[in-house]
Symmetry: D2
Subunit: 333 residues, 4 copies
């Protein structure tokens, strides 16, 4: 059983169905009927008028968002363990034309208003030092922690005070909202987020993420940038179809709740080993090399996370019955 990453899970049957139903000729690029419904569908979800673009990957979504927020000679403040810094091969540097990721620390990969303020305060206001233009936070974080609306609002307040834009990398935004139980608006635009990378691929989609602009002025140029990056697929309707299927009947929340529930089962079994509170669908635990070996021999696959630590990620398609053997095995270590 694989607990390596949610990004390898299967695609939800309803998404597969939506692809099949989209399989007629239509206008190319994003001129089709399905793509035309996206702004409305996401505006409904967020209860405000948003502009939305589909892209194939979270890396593209994040990078396009940062390019919209940041000039080439500026910088983006993010956590030193953020995905954009650690796992995107320098994509932000590519899309922004060489802007700088400005790294801050923080428990569980969380960025706080304080760290942003401290970082900014240490920068001389001259042309020799790169000046920040934006902050990027990840919700849920790389360690599965969830920003509460007031935490986001605190960061956003700092951003406003300093003239910085605020991006949220929501590769696991669904898991965060599912955990919070709040309205998605509360933890995004109402808290001050300008643009959101809203992930679906890890949550039952196949190849479509949504880039959601709450600040619609930011969206204008992004259409050109998406095309210029080779991300304007000619058969875009198949991406739109995935997103609409995921929004339909709140499938995105249903899937995220399932994944989160799986993580809670593991957390319960591993409660003395937990490195972080388990809030979304990732479980980080202390695990010796021999214990890891034991689990792997029993058929469980997962990611070593430095010396004596492991990461276990649950997916939308893992039922309680799927998770139980792992929970039992961990409890038995």
């Amino acid at each position: 059983m694989r607990f390596f990453s949610d990004n390898a899970a299967s695609v939800h049957p309803k998404v597969m169905d939506a692809l099949a139903q989209a399989n007629e000729q239509d206008t190319a690029y994003d001129g089709d009927a399905l793509s035309a419904r996206l702004n409305g569908a996401f505006s409904d979800i967020f209860e405000t008028e948003v502009e939305t673009m589909w892209v194939a990957t979270g890396t593209a979504a994040n990078s396009l968002a940062l390019a919209a927020l940041c000039q080439p000679y500026q910088g983006v403040i993010c956590h030193e363990e953020a995905h954009i810094e650690q796992d995107e091969a320098g994509a932000p540097g590519f899309y922004t034309g060489g802007a700088k990721l400005m790294l801050v620390g923080g428990e569980g990969a969380k960025v706080s208003a304080q760290t942003v303020n401290d970082y900014c305060a240490a920068i001389r206001d001259d042309v020799h030092q790169v000046q920040p233009a934006a902050v990027s936070i990840t919700n849920a974080t790389e360690y599965g922690l969830v920003y509460r609306p007031d935490e986001v609002a605190a960061v956003a307040e700092t951003c406003t005070a300093r003239g910085l834009g605020l991006h949220m990398d929501g590769a696991r935004f669904a898991n965060a909202v599912a955990m919070l139980g709040c309205h998605p608006a509360e933890v995004t635009w109402k808290a001050g987020v300008d643009v959101l990378s809203f992930g679906f691929v890890k949550n039952g989609g196949m190849s479509a993420e949504a880039l959601v602009f709450f600040d619609k002025d930011l969206a204008r140029d992004s259409h050109y940038r998406r095309k210029r990056a080779g991300h304007l697929q000619s058969k875009g309707r198949y991406l739109a179809a995935q997103l609409l299927a995921m929004l339909d009947g709140d499938l995105w929340l249903e899937n995220a709740r399932a994944a989160n529930a799986g993580a809670q089962m593991i957390a319960q079994a591993a409660r003395k080993r937990l490195l972080y509170p388990v809030e979304a669908n990732e479980v980080f635990i202390r695990l010796s090399a021999s214990e890891a070996e034991t689990l792997r021999r029993a058929g469980f696959d997962f990611y070593d996370w430095g010396e004596g630590q492991a990461r276990l990620v649950t997916s939308w398609n893992q039922s309680a019955a799927d998770i139980q053997p792992l929970a039992t095995a961990i409890a038995a270590l």
Copy 2:
């Protein structure tokens, strides 16, 4: 009936089936079993060892190819009507870090050895002028003309003599090979092509093109570049599945032959109106505004191509019965 572009056609049922069959958990990115088969499958097709990468769009494929061939301070010679110059929103400039597209003319959007030589000869060999590093040709061209193997070889010979790489934009490579009736090797690596953008989306695929490196040294860095551009999809197996389905039983050729046959039907009906010989699946004809209006009122959709001209593109999924009404309508004008 739509003759606007082949890039809006439906996806072939075998490709849809392949997606369904790929719908199990596997390793992410291109570590899955299907992606692992690509190099072998394409090496079989080309009868030489190639390195292959899937990407979502032709624009991404072309741009990655050019970035592999050309330093930021160099240039790529291409036709002034090439897709990379006209319709990719500056993507080559983005991916190469600002390299220059060096435009040459040529009937039917064909680049000849002579025009390449003339262009190069006019460049001073100093640091003030951008120096060319590669040539990009499109087969079939933007006007549906097909380069014969000896035409490619002549351009390639010039490239070799001048130290330039050779890229082939094969958005409609299948249509070209179907028309030529030759082995795909003959019009590519045997003729001197270094890297090929092998298109599938216009030919029955959904969202997967292949970037085929005949010069495998060029491929090394492209894996980093693909990821950095946000084109390394986490569920890459769904792209690999499409490509394998298209290669299987030469579906790519079968589809291309169908589209080409449709174009021939139109060409026959419009033979006095043809602006170019019809060799692939595009038909360019003289058509007055009122004639265009007549056709459109009859339900035929197509692209105006400048004053008094029109472009009609046929697709893999249009049968003779689908085409006949258009042919009849044109003949009746």
Copy 3:
């Protein structure tokens, strides 16, 4: 005697003196007393409040200007023989992050409102085609022709109508103004120019050009871009000193008049050979290979300009006595 280019001439003694006088410790970069005087000095010259930056080369000035006017995914319309296209090694592509130079024709390397309009009209307003953001004209042009104020105004009117910025490459701006006999304001901001590369190096300076922003909003980011390009010299006072010396007592005009007068002497002697009217300090003439050989053997150095043509450039430091032998030799051919 060298008529190869004005960019190889000696430095005016007053500029050398200014360097010597600047040779005391002062604040670094552009925080010194001399740099602080630049905005005032140029505002006086142009009779409007401008923001000015020194840079070492015309290429840097032009590229910084274009980067201020144009996003990476946009384009700049210029003449196909413009220096930014032909002789700057792709610098505009580097500074703008890959923007496209959009080439138009025009006699004597002049861009007209008509050609700008025609070029723009042929661009589809969609994300697939690069959209123009600015126009760059060169005054005097690469063929030594001078735009009259009304010609500039006509181009600017088109720019305004289409939302494009207007840059003037004034590598030989002094020669243009000297010829026009007008106030420098008339042919720049009053005619609609947003930013001017005001050249001094070809006109008696050593290593300082001025980037003059009439639209001061455009200047803000350029300070960061200049530093980021390695063009913020720590001993900037030596550049400021050059510019101030050149402005003092209108030395820039005096030098330009001298160079223009030299060109007129040659033009007079070569009046049957002229390829273009001689308006600034460049003379383009028909000259057979054997005639060129004759002149070279007599000790005159110049640039072959294609088959049977030559370019002769006069400099600020060439007196009538210096020019006479060449004029005589040409007349004697």
Copy 4:
């Protein structure tokens, strides 16, 4: 008296003389007689065949060097307080096309073989993480510490083992060599340095630094990159003249020794306050706000370096008599 920075000092009279002597017409760019002598002159200094280019600033020299060593999708390991990271406005990101500066710690801004190894070991060898291509060290460091030849060799050995290039930012290379008393070859190419930014502006020059390629293959493309960055000055002979004057009779060493001696005088007076050993021409001391105030009121200018610390930099043109008052004032605090 200014101890703010050596980059604001006056220009050495011999350099001024060299400018005056260069003031005749010659071939433009680097085709002149003086520029032609540079490779020979620097090869003599380093006792090996090098390729040398003049540029106006250390930022340009460093960035060109890094662009030669590093692809856009790669990274350069440097100290977190390195000038390229802290004070060059993101220039390395601009010149490399978005490469990543990979920051390591180390006392006194020194990079060690160990920190390079540790940093590299923590990077996964996959396409998701940016891979390092080079290491950049600064000699003397930002805190005025001098790498010994064996320290450089240790870093270089790691570089070789890992396939990384090695760049030395020698903005104060002269001060380092003066302190070491070794041959400049020993601490550069003999120790494994591939390319050196050899600073002259802080050491009596006006506007010329040397980029010295020990690995001549790296130099080839840099000529294009320099032009493309607007750093190929048309009157390059005035830069070459400065460099030749500085090399002549080892003026560069003489000036550096003078500056170092000044720093030693201050160090002696402030020996109980020193934050770092004083090895070059920079003195970092503990200094309370009121003490700083006292010194400033006495007419001494310097840089606050965080809370309770100050940086004092001596220059080539400060004699013992110039320094004495400061030394006395510090001793009297």
